[in-house]
Assembly symmetry: D2
Homo-oligomer: 341 residues x 4
């Protein structure tokens, strides 16, 4: 039984709490949040105790922590938690700064504790089925990947300003999806983008619509499309063309009802946003973490994976600025013992 401290009792922390408490091999021992009312309420619901993050990290009875706090605390908490001997599952991104993330990786590796980054989409049943079909050779060799990833509505501009930009905040998931499905790292990154949804996003120095093309040394290509606004809901689709076929993962819909009238045939929209769409993914993600920690298996998503995605986000940011493709270093400096992808 894994005794778990949950750092962060916000929206995503609450999703994790359900899974931690409901899992056969884990229990929710303690919850912290900068808003104590939030941690107390969440702890009470699951028979856990509310505490500060310091108390949780200092508690020897706690085996693992789940970091669901704001992005700017991730690196610090990973370092402190691993130094305190705890296994860590940390929400993405590791950090907005690649340099800081590499430093974090070095220290975590020194502490010798397992760290998993919460790229939840790898655990989505649809994308996981795609990966399995690919590995089973069902479409031969991968050639051309296409990722569509649209949010239902843009966040407030105040959030945009501290988000690190679309590539680090939003497309980072898609960079990891490319790594998940294509393996290895691309040779080049080319980004285009504009603030066509909301000019205020442009004034804040960011884009809201972007297309990034990744090329791989062996000739494979990946293209990622992002928009901050798809009014019909969260649009999350992946297609992979291979030498012997095509794999497509479509959206999950709110329900299976269709209505045929003189106006046409109308079906339900995609599930609204990430909490609805990825609820099963969060549950499977937690199961993967618990199993890996308790069974001593390798982390299914490593700190190195988080850093690799961040590196692509930095490259895309640069490409967008210069209008030119950016070459990716095939052999990046990296803490020993922490394989990438």
């Amino acid at each position: 039984m894994l005794r778990v401290g949950l750092l962060g009792a916000g929206r995503i922390g609450q999703v994790h709490a359900v899974n931690i408490a409901g899992h056969a091999r884990s229990e929710l021992a303690a919850v912290s949040d900068v808003f104590t009312a939030a941690s107390e309420s969440l702890a009470a619901k699951y028979g856990a105790r509310a505490a500060s993050s310091e108390e949780i990290l200092a508690d020897p009875s706690i085996d693992a922590v789940l970091v669901a706090t704001s992005t700017d605390t991730h690196s610090d908490l990973i370092e402190k938690a691993t130094a305190a001997g705890k296994a860590v599952l940390c929400e993405k991104p590791v950090d907005l700064s690649l340099a800081r993330a590499l430093e974090c990786q070095r220290r975590a590796a020194a502490a010798g504790q397992p760290v998993m980054i919460g790229f939840n989409r790898r655990f989505d049943p649809n994308f996981a089925a795609m990966k399995a079909a690919l590995e089973a050779g069902e479409i031969g060799k991968a050639e051309l990947l296409s990722v569509t990833s649209f949010d239902p509505a843009p966040p407030p501009v105040s959030y945009i300003k501290v988000s690190g930009g679309l590539f680090r905040d939003m497309m980072i998931h898609d960079f990891d999806m490319a790594a998940f499905l294509m393996g290895g790292r691309p040779a080049t990154v080319q980004a285009t983008g504009s603030a066509i949804v909301d000019p205020a996003i442009g004034e804040a120095g960011d884009v809201d619509t972007a297309v990034v093309t990744l090329t791989y040394a062996d000739g494979r290509i990946a293209v990622i499309k992002n928009s901050r606004r798809a009014v019909y809901g969260y649009d999350q689709r992946v297609e992979l063309l291979g030498s012997e076929g095509l794999l497509s993962a479509a959206n999950m819909l709110e329900n299976t009802l269709s209505k045929s009238t003189t106006a046409g045939v109308t079906s339900a929209k995609p599930t609204y946003f990430f909490l609805e769409r990825y609820m099963p993914a969060y549950e499977r993600e937690w199961d993967a973490f618990v199993s890996a920690v308790l069974d001593g298996a390798p982390m299914p998503v490593t700190l190195g994976d988080g850093i690799a995605a961040l590196a692509l986000a930095e490259a895309a940011t640069e490409s967008l600025k210069t209008g030119l493709p950016v070459r990716i270093d095939p052999a990046p400096a990296m803490a020993a013992g922490e394989p990438v992808a």
Copy 2:
């Protein structure tokens, strides 16, 4: 090259004219219609001559006739045309009277000319693919058939009155579909129905909504649903459950566009009515007739098939009246040499 006389230049006659003229092995020689303007116009378009049906039947250079006249003339024209030594493709139904149809069958058999009945749906690419998959054993042994067959809008009540009723006029296609897919003939027919779409149809002695269940001696079951009104278009679907799977033939849609908005995801409606939906079927039907005649092969749909469907329509009419199931004679009287189904 098959030289063809077309009897009837109405809506369906015009469809056939295109196929006769366009087929590599047939040519449209003559066209007749009770409205001479119609036959003249249609004949002119394809370089054929307008003539009376008597002239066409008397013309020794004409090898075959396609009967696309009103139902009450079908039996007579089949008899006259076969007596005149011509191969015949006749639109369904053979006749509204089973006794008359059997007499027609007897005489046509005596004349020794091939007669095909235009059950166009057997040639629909979707239903034909279903039949092929079934015969290839792809779902094992058939167990439960379900036919959905809705018209977009009811015909005028004046038509209803001379139509022979829903079972002879509309469901006869579905009885033939059951014969096509299930083979043999059912043991019992149970009909229910009502005039819920339009009370005037009820006052005319007919129903506009009906469900008929066929049971077979070996335990198979078929259920047919008819409605005279599906406001979204012509709804023509078939499902067949077998011991190793399910085959489903869905509607053909006007186009493949879908629109996702806050109101949902809207797709195109089914093609509006039989001319749109079954255009490819009419073309394949004609090809099957031409090939059978010129190559001396058996007719793909026989006069016996037309009579078998009519017999089920009569049984359903009786079942609806009495509220009781009607038993079907397993070995009906039938003209020698004319196999059923």
Copy 3:
């Protein structure tokens, strides 16, 4: 907060336990089962106590019981629990005997405690959306209902023998679906069926494939298709044709992946069986029960609804035996104060 005793710790009891424990307004207080190991294990997981059903019914701190035991105990437990002052959610069917169910209804009504019958499909998001669309007038007036309900594989013949037969055991859900969507009760029931999937089921006096047609006094028609075997999974679809359109609820699939190869385009199968398909329905069902009890609202599915479905199952059983339609009494004897449907 509703304190709940769960009677029955089998497969379906375990599903309910998750929902009872996870609901914000209920807690799992105690669990009973004829196999004490099962109740102890399930109780331990949720911090509840294992007890006998007698102890649970005698415990004044328990507000409600969920009856998830074998069918032959349902009537007794409903009576005892309501007599003990507890609200009851009981799995379907109420009883295999209509007379016994009516007696149970009379006694429960006398006890004055709310009783809900677990027709889970009413809470399926897809069918619930269909009901909502119908009530919103989106397809005008209902005319023709079609329910497809196939199990993935037949149960053991030993189960068939004690099940009460396909109509009471399996189609009872579909009879309730007809009541849910069509309202009122039908005028006639016509059943056909056969043991084509497994002759041993026929030797046990039951059928495994059946079609039942319901007619309503106002001309509406419903047709229900059942098969004990659809090798591709649990096939649960409903279609409703109305004067202004069609509503269709399709299956939920295992995932949204499709694979296009030279062999065609392959998608995932329907979720395998009722636990997978109706997991969200069970959660919503529990929420509806808790809300009704705590807020003093009417039960969303009554004991009368359970009896109405059972009455149709009896009628279908008789129709199958005689081969004739069975007329349904429009005003059945019923305990006062317990409305039907």
Copy 4:
């Protein structure tokens, strides 16, 4: 009635012959081909005469010619035919050389005869419905276009060598689709590509897999994906994200049959290649040309449209070579009176 000379009796010429002969307002007068057997056979089928292209152009009774010859003859034939006073429908591309195409445009403009370029996809019912929905404001303002265009199998390398390369030969259709849906011309073109399907294509100096991103001055983006091989068939899909929704045009399938077994749910593949997929488009294209010529309306697709697509193909070719984005001249030199797009 438009009297038409068909130049070229190959595969695509035969498709056009059917439409010319079948149209109510046009007739096929003559057919030419470098292989006289081909022109004679095709002419005979439709009661036309076989002739040389010179004879056809010199025949004053012929009003229009359809140019379906090899690409290297297009410019010459457009010039000669317009000089001979004939309206022209010419298959794409105008020429492999942009300079030559501009010269052709200048001369055709001087001749004052209408010229239409056969970008058949604009007449595909699905893409035409998308354009209509966009213009009707159904998704607000366009923001992000995505075109998927995969051929079923690569052509022989011998063809690749004379094709002008993937961008001029294959993606030119997609450049025109972008023009059709987005209007105007892009500001920049960025191309990536590789010969991952067949190294021999790479050795011939071409790519077989490519992604091109177009950016527009107003912030809109279009991305086009091409592959020479999709083993499951001709994959032709377009998606357009707008401020108020998404439009998607899916593939047309061989039939609507699906099969559910233990192996999953299998549907038909997309129609195999362009002749099958775009058969209705060619028919509508011809109707649009005939109507425009006979009614004196503007050509629905102009020589300028053909040149605009060719200009993007040249830019993409350069971008692929340099690895850098290419800026498109917003106001290109162009023959007077011939508007672009």
